[in-house]
Symmetry: C3
Subunit: 401 residues, 3 copies
């Protein structure tokens, strides 16, 4: 689905300026209109990029990233987004810095922010801690700005926490929007967010939690499936139920992949660790209990192994609507016979949708850039309009010579 830039602007205008100066920590804290604004801004930036129009909004300024877990996709998406707007990325590497000397969050938050516009944080390892940490940083920044320490109050973007993964779920939503054609067309679509077997353990819960929280808001029929004991955070289940009620969608939890796949328009099979395991793991990690962690890992892998049939096969795909459901994944997937012996998805299924998963991932830089832009500028509509009107080149023109 392609829109002209003027169509995008017209849509955006309705929702303009809604997230100015507010952190993006959880999609559930944002209104429907906030989210629509965000996606239209992302579309606008994509249009400008693809038409070689500069989207530089900053002549100087830092975008700081704090990664407390491995990342390729999100790291490069954050770097791309910052670069697109003119910000320079600086990584807070907690080993290189003096945080290891006992610095407090409050102090560090101010020390890195004197010329900072945006701070992106990934902290998804400890249940009950990642999102709280972001709020603690936010409070420190509020104080620093109020007391005249900081000339501006940097915005915070959640790059994945223990509760949510907004940059992923919103890139997924933008993918669905473009795949089906409009928000209206998402209404009534069935999405199966299901657990899948993986030979590794301890994968975060933020993706399934993010998906059931967000997709229930667009009138979608969201079905969550997982084996006994692989529960998500109770709070996320509650949010999904509320959203289903409020936004005329539906949400249910089932105990079989087959049931979830039945007549689904979209399937999202992905491994995660049970919430209760993540809680135990959090305690063990806090106490640096290596033996305890080994015992837990062994136990979990044994338990996982009972559910090897929770894998997305060609057979299972036949259960979906017309056998043609869209397969989604946040990548990297554990692909049977490719990246592991037995995993989340059969080689043939993955290969069929591989390019689709790449396109899905490709929305992430624009979603992050839109989070940055809606935070820093009071009128994204006016801003995008002026960028389009000025039409400075992004890459020096050369084809027409």
């Amino acid at each position: 689905m392609e829109y002209s830039f003027n169509e995008i602007l017209r849509k955006l205008r309705k929702y303009d300026g809604r997230m100015y100066d507010t952190d993006f920590l959880l999609t559930q804290e944002k209104s429907q209109d906030d989210i629509k604004q965000l996606l239209y801004v992302a579309m606008g930036l994509k249009y400008l990029y693809e038409n070689n129009i500069s989207t530089k909004c900053f002549n100087s300024g830092l975008g700081i990233s704090i990664f407390r877990d491995k990342s390729t996709r999100t790291r490069f998406s954050f770097a791309s987004a910052a670069n697109l707007l003119g910000l320079t990325v600086s990584d807070l590497d907690e080993e290189k810095s003096q945080i290891s000397h006992g610095e407090t969050v409050r102090e560090t938050a101010n020390m890195i922010s004197f010329m900072t516009e945006i701070i992106g944080i990934r902290d998804d390892m400890y249940i009950g801690m990642g999102n709280s940490y972001m709020r603690e940083v936010g409070q420190a920044l509020d104080e620093g700005f109020a007391k005249g320490v900081l000339p501006q109050r940097p915005g915070i973007v959640n790059l994945q926490c223990d509760i949510d993964h907004p940059t992923q779920s919103l890139a997924d939503l933008l993918h669905l929007y473009n795949y089906f054609g409009s928000f209206r067309k998402l209404k009534g679509k069935k999405i199966a967010m299901t657990w899948a077997y993986s030979p590794s353990y301890g994968k975060p819960l933020s993706v399934p939690q993010g998906i059931i929280s967000l997709m229930t808001r667009f009138g979608m029929e969201v079905v969550l499936a997982h084996p006994e004991g692989y529960d998500l955070l109770p709070e996320s289940i509650e949010v999904a139920n509320q959203h289903a009620n409020e936004y005329d969608g539906s949400f249910k939890v089932v105990k079989s992949m087959d049931e979830a796949f039945q007549n689904a328009d979209i399937v999202y099979p992905k491994s995660w660790a049970p919430f209760s395991v993540m809680q135990r793991r959090t305690e063990l990690l806090k106490n640096s209990d290596k033996d305890g962690l080994k015992v837990l890992e062994k136990e979990c892998l044994e338990n996982n192994a009972k559910y090897k049939d929770w894998t997305c096969t060609q057979e299972k795909m036949k259960l979906t609507k017309g056998g043609k459901a869209l397969y989604m994944h946040c990548l990297p997937a554990d692909i049977t016979g490719v990246s592991c012996v037995e995993g989340e998805v059969e080689k043939e299924v993955f290969e069929k949708y591989r390019i689709n998963t790449y396109i899905e991932a490709g929305y992430k830089p624009y979603v992050i850039a839109a989070m940055m832009l809606t935070n820093r500028f009071s009128s994204p509509y006016q801003l995008l309009k002026s960028l389009y009107t000025e039409s400075d080149w992004r890459v020096r023109p050369y084809k027409n010579w």
Copy 2:
């Protein structure tokens, strides 16, 4: 104290162009006027930043940082300063590079400088070596430029060495300037630079040495206090004495924190390792003598523990002028009951001045940017004037839509 931009320009004009093409390695090598120029440039840059005026002076060019010790504050300050002027930071990480293959300083200095404007170096671990290393780099650059290897001779900025910590002491001076209102008002103010107990060992001497060298130049009454045996470099003591004579200040060393605090306008209680310990440590580090280092650490910590009463308490603060001296610290501080059981400062004192220490730290990016700018441009006055006149935005304007 706030100045209009024209006042800053007027003050700056008198001292214009004094540090063009000269490295910033020690404040004691700079004249009074050099230092005034630097601070006025820093103020000018701060004004422009806060008024959303671009200070971009480079369309391309690298600012290289070499950190041989941990750093958060200085690392981000350097990154911010470079970015503010349009330079891109590239870190020389000695583990990733081929320095470990036996490269000489002379060669490396040239290899990283083909498109480099500024090199910032932190090397504070080895007594007698950090500042020398910077000069060695400087000589290599001189040769490379003279022989046509380098199209420009990059400037060097000392980001902390064994002798001095100019970016810290100058940020501190700018803080005092703004706190008291003018250079003139600093005259006669008493500053107590005192040792304080810390449960760690081996903290560098560069901060107290930097403070006593610099503050004696502005007619201040500088009192250094430390327990028996916690001496600074004899050369720094000599410089402090000379400056006190030359600039109508005063300098003395006392043996008690109480005596130093008596009637002080400013207190700066901070731990450091004795000079003689740092010398022994340098030898042990050179020989990678791990056992020797352990013995030394144990010995030092035991010795430190004799002086736990050297801590900045509310009681001691009452000794200062009107009980209201300004507390300073380069951060992070060892705060009793917060970051350690017993440390440099009582929780209540630190909390009262916490925001002040953040504001103090906030001058550092501007001081570093001013070091860069005064090194690269023959007329900072004309440069700042033209930036102000052009008034390009730093962040794309949006509020007035």
Copy 3:
């Protein structure tokens, strides 16, 4: 040899636009004219840089570097080149990223490329793998671009592989061009590419292979010398022979350094590991066979030690044309009595040519920038001309105030 900018433009015009949208993986895949174009673009960029004219061609965009081996020179050259054109460097650090989670090359190549213009890769450790890896990345990018995943197909620049080291050999060629004055004057010049003793082992073959492949194309008399058993890749020898035939040069392999030095205009004495050793090493590395690697290292160092007389001495230099051959090295060199007890070159010889080797290295940033620019722009001639005509400053002007 200095050219005016118009002379450079006039020369460039003949060869314009020849490498648009094609990766730079091996010099042997490029035509003579391609290579001439590249060097003229490099010269043009150097002229503009030295005359303070901005060469910014990108307002945003990433240049990604993937280093699978240590590097100072090439890392900083790549950073400088990207910065010169306006690209922001982002390092793909395979430890930080999720490649360690089992990601495929195909996927990663797309994930890092959504807003990427250039990918620079160094992968020189494994015989038969480095260059292949680059082609695999290239195919993944082709697919991603064709299927609409990527808005542009990033170009790939070989920063050193198992076969070639194009950025080095082309910087070397540009050095020779400037040293002797023209391509025509290189004709008939004798270059001795010879093995030299080093107390380390496992040095890559890419430099000697790159030199014999490239220099045979400019009518040069190329002589390769090494002890029995220190063979290069057979394919590189074949390419050197073909080029010598085709381009009216000559190529022969001799068994003594003295013979190679005889009447040489240029000498390039440098250590490398025998091709067959590198093959054995590749297998051992693949199997993480640490004991096997130790045995191999011991064996090789013992073998190397038989050839300690393969060192570039003042005596040997007397054999060269008029005793005045130009000494070249890719740096860092193993210098007898400086960086090792016995090494590739005598202290006195190296010192005499030290500045020359620095100047040689100084062409690398421009060569890399030229690779980027010829890949991204269909008419480098028109591009450079317009940059020259516009003449925006690179560093804000200040001298004329």
